[in-house]
Structures are given as structure tokens and as C-alpha cells.
Symmetry: C2
């Protein structure tokens, strides 16, 4: 899987990319791997290039965030259309979704009346053959399109809209791809041992536990070197997964204590 | 400019990529543009591919974060070496920096003694012809290397180490590239007006103020539609920049008020 985040606000550092983290965590928890996250600006050619490059790496899925709204700088659908070589055309189902949202705004007395102005119609112009995904908390629908066997899903950049469409429309599709695979993780805190002394122990334990990935994270805030060891594995069977991680934790804990270090369990 | 962040923890959503935001903001404030941010995992081939692709887009600078430490999963220098077609070799200057750090740890009584074990020597193995950048707050030096006219700077993933090396060693180089250019921004809050009604006004004002970029950001937390309009420009001259942004704000404020909307100044 790949994630592409669209928005100048991410490239100027105005906005922290919490969408990327949320998606990465959700996708990982579903048992799938995010191989790459790409951030590009509000530019049709940049978006198209990023989408084309991602498709060439043949992931099962590419998810984009941002750039689906009504303003001129919402360019994701244009970029995707260019990347997959299809025209943008008004999609009736999407237009109905947009209308329904404004009707809801009227019912909620947020606006008094509405008409389908060009900026509003823009949100319903999808690449030919694409399917709109209902946005139950905002205006712009999500979009799903398949190209060369790769499914591309476009989500809005507003976090609660992105989350709602992901959970309602994409999670079930991803769950199908992942099957029974699930991701498991645990952490161990290490004190009184520099990371460079841990390095050969991690090597050894990963060698002895080939399905368990271990990564050390120095915690910068501590004056005394304090390191988080993060253990993860993906498995069909939670008992196997827990066993794998448990075995690796026990093995490395003994090695650390033998060398004078201190370990303590940590929440993940 | 491009930024490449290396780390499985970013791809599984364990860590929020605050490094990318910090770098993007810093680089933008220096008057330069970040064109793309790429996140890849701890994999030599993935890192090498991302670096090669970035170099092919001919940015003035590529900055990487993460993967410089002593453990097996610190693979950035191997990936960069592969991308630029150079061997990794022990760099004396870098080795002296690593030794000095451990000597400082002894002086601070954080460790009792040290020797240059293979994991520690690893931090001083740089692509041939590279220059180490002093790390005044941690162990692994930063690295600077030039390839096909593109400068590549590798920084650690621990935020305070990344920040220190950036500010001490890279900011002066970037300042030279940027010259007198500086980035300016301001924000305006808009109420009682949906984003789709703002869209044509933004179009008009950007058309009339070609050097000013305006982007609307819906604020998801408000029940009443509340939108942040963000204005930015890059200029050699702060008076011109402020004038440009001021003119755009006045023009759009009048258009919004005329249509029944409400505006208020916002901090950026």
C-alpha cells in the first residue's frame, strides 16, 4: 500500500501530517503494509507524477488525502485523472451526494439555501469510471477508481472526513485484502545501556526470531540514555504472534540484564 | 528542495512525523521551497530508490532524516551510497566526532568507559567523499555529500539531534542558496460562508494579486462553517511582501462582507 498526501500546507510546515500517521496506523492494524508515504503540493503535475510512480510500484492500494474540495487549489482529481489517462466527468451519484449534503446543511439551519454553483459541481467531477464514496460528515465525496489492477482511493484532507470515509468505505475493502493477518506490537524500556551496545543483541534476537521485527528508539528527553525497544510481527494467529514477541522480549531482556542494563515493560 | 524521512516507525503510524513539519517550516522560512516529502522504511533499496528519484528531479538540496544510528536497521548511509554509486568507507573526521561524543559521555558520567565497537564504527562509515556534520547533542554525525550537482544532507531521526545539526550546519548553506528571499504569511478567519462560496472570490483575488498564494482551510471542529484563509508570498523585501498580503486581505474581506460573511484576523 502507498499513501499520498496532497497540500501546500504540508510542504510549508503549516500543518502537521496527522492524516498520514492515522492512516498508517489503521492500515498496519488491519494487517497490511504501508511501503511509502509521499507528500506533494497542490499542483496537477506533481500529483499526477506521484500517483503514476506509486502505481508503477504495483501496490494493492494507493490512498490519497486532500485536494477534493470546491476551491481552485483542490486538484487531486485532476491529477489522478491525468495519471490514469481518463477525463474528468460529472458523476451523477457524486452530484446527488453533494446535493444531499447541502440539503442536510439547510435542515441543520447552517445555510438558508443553495444552488449547484461551479465550485460545488467540481466536487462531483470524477475521473471516468470512478465511484464516489459517501462523506457523512462533510461535503466532498471520496473517490475510488481502479487502474492497471491498482485501486486508488481519494479521501478529503479534513481529518474527520478522511477518517469517516476510510472507516465506512475503505476499511472493509482492506480487510478483504488482508484476510486474517493482524499486526501485533509491544515495547520494552531499556536503561543504563547505550544504543550501540544494544545493536549486536538486537541482531542476535532478530536472527533467532525471524518473524519478529525489533527497532530501537532513543528517547531524546531523558538525560540518562533511555531506549524504547519496539517489537512487531504480523500473523494470522494472535497466540502465535504473542508467543513470538514474548520469546524475543525474554531473550533480549536476559542479554541486557547480563550486561548490566535495566529493562521495564512499556505501553505501546 | 526535497525531504526524505526514513523509518518503519513512520510507516506503521507509531511515530508522528514532526521532523518533516519542522524541516518544512524552517526551509520555507529561509525562503526556499520544499517540493516533495517522501517517507520510506528501513530498507536499503527503498532508501536508494527514493534518493535516486529525488536527485532526478534536480532539487538544489535533498535532506534525509533517520537511519544514522548504530543498529542494524540504521540503513540510510548504505541507501545513499547505493543511490550515488559510491562505497561506504571509514571517515576519520567522523570517527573522531564519534569518539569525542563517548569521551563527553564519560566526562558527564553517563558511561564508565567505551571502545569503538563495530556498531559505533558504523556511524563513521560514510559514502566516499562525504563530509561529516558535527552532532553536538547526540552520537551519530550528520553527513553531507554532493552528487550530480545536488547536495544531499543526512540528519539523524532523533528530533533534537536533527534540529541541532540543521541549525548549526545546514541553515547557513540554505541561506546562501535562498539569498535575500523570505517567506511571509498571514491568516484570516471567515464565518457564515461555506468554502464553495469563497472559491470564486479566492480565484479573483489570486488573479488580481499574482504573487500571493491563498488557500482555504476548513476548521473541522466548528459546527458553524469556519474557514481559515491562509495568505503567503515569498519576496526579497518585507515591505513589498506585507503590502501584497495586506492588499489581498482587504480585497477579499470586502467581497466576503458584501456577501454576508464575517471576517476576523487570525494568528498564523
Amino acid at each position: 500500500m502507498e499513501v499520498i498526501c496532497v497540500g501546500n500546507e504540508l510542504l510549508i510546515g503549516k500543518t502537521l501530517n496527522t492524516n498520514a500517521q492515522w492512516l498508517a496506523k489503521r492500515i498496519t492494524t488491519l494487517g497490511l503494509n504501508v511501503r511509502r508515504i509521499t507528500v506533494v503540493g497542490d499542483d496537477v503535475d506533481e500529483i499526477a507524477a506521484a500517483v503514476k510512480e506509486a502505481v508503477q510500484r504495483r501496490p494493492s492500494f494507493v490512498i490519497t488525502t486532500g485536494g477534493l474540495g470546491p476551491t481552485f487549489d483542490d486538484k487531486t482529481l485532476g491529477g489522478v485523472a491525468l495519471a490514469v489517462g481518463r477525463e474528468l466527468e460529472e458523476n451523477n451519484e457524486a452530484l446527488e451526494m453533494v446535493k444531499k449534503t447541502y440539503q442536510r446543511y439547510i435542515a441543520e439551519e447552517r445555510i438558508e439555501k443553495f444552488e449547484i454553483t461551479p465550485p460545488r459541481a467540481k466536487m462531483a467531477k470524477l475521473p471516468k469510471g470512478a465511484k464516489p464514496l459517501p462523506n457523512t460528515v462533510g461535503t466532498a465525496p471520496g473517490v475510488l477508481v481502479e487502474h492497471e489492477g491498482v485501486r486508488l482511493a481519494m479521501l478529503p484532507g479534513v481529518p474527520r472526513e478522511m477518517m469517516a470515509i476510510f472507516d465506512e468505505s475503505l476499511a472493509p475493502l482492506l480487510h478483504e485484502i488482508a484476510g486474517d493477518l493482524t499486526f501485533y506490537e509491544a515495547s520494552l524500556g531499556v536503561e543504563r545501556m547505550p544504543e550501540s551496545d544494544l545493536a549486536p543483541m538486537i541482531d542476535q534476537v532478530m536472527h533467532d526470531n525471524p518473524y519478529t521485527y525489533i527497532k530501537s528508539h532513543p528517547q531524546a528527553s531523558e538525560k540518562v540514555p533511555h531506549i524504547e525497544l519496539h517489537f512487531s510481527t504480523t500473523s494470522k494467529d494472535s497466540a502465535t504472534a504473542r508467543q513470538r514477541i514474548g520469546r524475543a522480549i525474554i531473550q533480549i531482556s536476559e542479554m541486557i540484564k547480563e550486561k548490566g542494563g535495566k529493562v521495564q515493560p512499556m505501553g505501546t
